[in-house]
Symmetry: C2
Subunit: 148 residues, 2 copies
DNA sequence: ATAAATTAAATTGTGCACAACTTAATTATA
DNA sequence: TATAATTAAGTTGTGCACAATTTAATTTAT
């Protein structure tokens, strides 16, 4: 028998890991109309809030680096959702801008957050507490990981 | 300006997704001694609890399918942590068994759960509530995803 | 007993995710 | 003002993750 603390059911991090995967599976049918993956949907969420930002800024908000974003943005450019062009002021930077199609996609996304809340089946109070813990863990871990 | 519900900061699922990734990064230095990835560590946790189970059973516990497990188990076999052999009673099944090295690795893992708790920086009550919400979301989503 | 259905792994193909490195542009400094 | 240091993207290589399909073994139903 394994050490009690090494049992899978006692691993909070396993719950996060598994919940994240089940969550992206849950999103799949909801994103069918948009024809994007969950990470691509996150890129759209950021650009709908603020269009014309750099790859770097996108990565800062999504906690992703260029190694992940560059190929993903290329796929999204190919599928017609956005454009990538070098900044004239600083040729190192690449500015990401939504196309007409990318902007219009927001309409099709409006109801997704409500469907997600339904699927989670938690009351407002629990959801609020849950999200607060998640954000706390996220920010704490991110800060820790940055330092080292 | 984007619809309020479509703002990234209001997305509980983004918190799960990002926290899961920061969590695996946090584990990296803790797993260095074992020389395994986080998903491989989860396989070890299961086998330390019950050795000699099938790929199927492993997948049921970790919410992973053979498409993910088969290549991962092959890597772990190559690195000497486990063995894979067909069951004589049912040639379809593959039984996964720890090697001496795989069993011994448990000793090196004993202190990991405590280090993790430290890194999360939550008091016991919050941690308990947090995990309860995670497990609830996980099981609810899993059940939902199975059905469809 | 044999054909049909089911089950367990493996395979194939696509898309992240990230560490480590490279390239090119900009900024800081001697 | 050369040169060193820094910054921003991109590239390379490895390892998941999963849908869809394939292969082979076992069960079920005819």
């Amino acid at each position: 028998m394994a050490e009690e603390h090494l049992k899978l059911e006692n691993q909070i991090c396993f719950s996060i890991y598994a919940a994240a995967r089940e969550m992206t599976k849950m999103y799949k049918p909801l994103l069918q109309k948009l024809d994007v993956t969950y990470p691509q949907y996150l890129v759209l969420l950021v650009l709908w809030e603020e269009d014309g930002i750099t790859v770097n800024e996108l990565g800062r908000r999504l906690y992703l680096d260029s190694g992940t974003l560059t190929p993903m943005l290329k796929r999204m450019e190919t599928s017609g959702l956005l454009e990538r062009k070098r900044s004239p002021e600083d040729e190192r930077r690449v500015i990401v801008t939504l196309t007409e199609q990318g902007r219009n996609a927001e309409k099709d996304a409006r109801d997704i957050p409500f469907q997600v809340i339904d699927h989670l089946a938690m009351d407002e109070a629990e959801l609020k507490q849950f999200k607060a813990s998640l954000v706390k863990a996220l920010e704490h871990l991110h800060e820790r990981n940055e330092k080292s």
